[in-house]
Symmetry: C2
Subunit: 350 residues, 2 copies
Amino acid sequence: MKVQEPSFTFLRACKRLPVDYTPIWFMRQAGRYMAEYRKIREKYTLLEICAIPELATQVTLQPINSFGFDAAILFADILLPLVPMGINLEFAAGEGPVIHNPVRTATDVDQLRRINSHDDLAHVLKAVQLISSELAGKTPLIGFAGAPFTLASYLIEGGPSKNFLKTKGLMVEQPQVWEKLMNLLADVVADFLLAQIGAGAQAIQLFDSWAGSALSPDDYKQYALPYSQKIFNNICQAGVPTIHFSVGAGTYLPLIKEAGGDVIGLDWRTPIDWGRNILGTEVAVQGNLDPAALFAPKNILKRKIQKILDLADNRPGHIFNLGHGILPTTPVDNVKATVEMVHELSQRKI
Amino acid sequence: MKVQEPSFTFLRACKRLPVDYTPIWFMRQAGRYMAEYRKIREKYTLLEICAIPELATQVTLQPINSFGFDAAILFADILLPLVPMGINLEFAAGEGPVIHNPVRTATDVDQLRRINSHDDLAHVLKAVQLISSELAGKTPLIGFAGAPFTLASYLIEGGPSKNFLKTKGLMVEQPQVWEKLMNLLADVVADFLLAQIGAGAQAIQLFDSWAGSALSPDDYKQYALPYSQKIFNNICQAGVPTIHFSVGAGTYLPLIKEAGGDVIGLDWRTPIDWGRNILGTEVAVQGNLDPAALFAPKNILKRKIQKILDLADNRPGHIFNLGHGILPTTPVDNVKATVEMVHELSQRKI
């Protein structure tokens, strides 16, 4: 039996198949920089938007309709699965997420619920279904989740952290508690991603936002890699492309690749050619415009886009993206211009 | 004429000469984690300690006397030279440095004073003299300064920054203003470092704390490297070892080397062997214990120290250090233990 080749440019690029132009999407492409989103946020909190499938759908589609990205990504938050697990989560204005009952002991870990996505995250899966049917035949939808290390660090620190002292403390001083927590998170995340795929997501991205800033490659290998790897191993049965993204991963790219992913996301500190030299040709790469470049005048923005396309060299397996999430004050005009420029500048000559 | 070889282990390691054991010092080794320092801070602000040579001397010597580090580093702040240049600097409690008159236009840059270290930073140079005479024959003293990019980012943002939007904006949109500012900072820093060497500093370190987190290697090469390089070129006449440190520099180590430095500081995300593979044998390396490792139980701490020493492989040209500054709440016991363990575990077999 011959597996049918995907027709969407984004999905073809994930599989390193030839494409007519380089596909583009942005991490956090639905969000605060768009007036349409801010209007909805006047009435609803972030968690409310995530909880109401119709709103999540509306917000997810905004950047697709406005800018013509080659993929949509579910509007959600990596911390959502933690709520039914028993976490008291709040997005405090200006402070980011706050977890009022952080997880720091064996007892805390034992009290976390092993959720079932179909029951406990039904609202998210409903949003995936709605979005998929809206987009059907037009644009593929990316589902996503946070990687175990990043989720664990939020759980343990109680919010964002600079030095991850509590996380690293638990990790090295209570290795069995750490292992139990990380295995639980890996199981929950794999189940959640499979459920998103079942509901219509045509690709998934695993965000390990903090691992690269926090851990030495040695610690990553011991304390984080096995659990991300477990997720990739579990979801490969679903047959959709998987993207693995971590910030500041330049020096541990070989380990990111080892953990898994058909596509490896690169931040703007890791040039495409440097990344490819380390990763080899068996994976695609995604990235990596500095999100700050979107604030520059168009001629400079264009030069920076061209530079990335030059390094990617029209070889199969490149998806254009930012090197990190789009910033809240980004000028909308430049987002539109970037999508157009990437499409135009990467047009393959016949 | 044969140049005499240095006798201090730290200085020998900087020059990649054989040593009996691996020398060790810590970035921010004088500071808040020490009770003796906190006692002085009850009576004086950080800027007052820097301004009173006797206090700066006392604080600089505290970790030398308590832990036996192989090098002292002047107690000062990278922002000190900005004050006589015309900057209104304050260290606000809990917020880090605040610059009340940030530099954002051509006029702002024109108004900055081209200071003369001997006159305008006499108090710092006096501290260097005092410390040098206290340490004479016992421990070498490291002088230091901030690199132009890091200083410019503080000047432009008005304090620490997450996304460096204003800095990157000025950099790409007003390249002539940027060049003027960066050249001025390079001249001031080179003059200041030469003056510190003249006052008795036996090595210097250039801290480019933010370049690695902020810039793509391409932007670093264009907008930061030339000015750091200018400093290294200007101070090489003094003949003392130079150390170049940046955080998150894994993917642009070749450029850090190109900018200059006899020793390249590595953070804990760049393993010693990875760094050496890229840097080659013409420079020494410094680093790179995760500052969070100092919070671990001693057996784990020892394992992590051993791992770094194993990667350094007793080859000439390794100085043990943290991968970033020591954290304020670090347990003092583990600092002492680390110095002892590094000395003991690295003892060269005869």
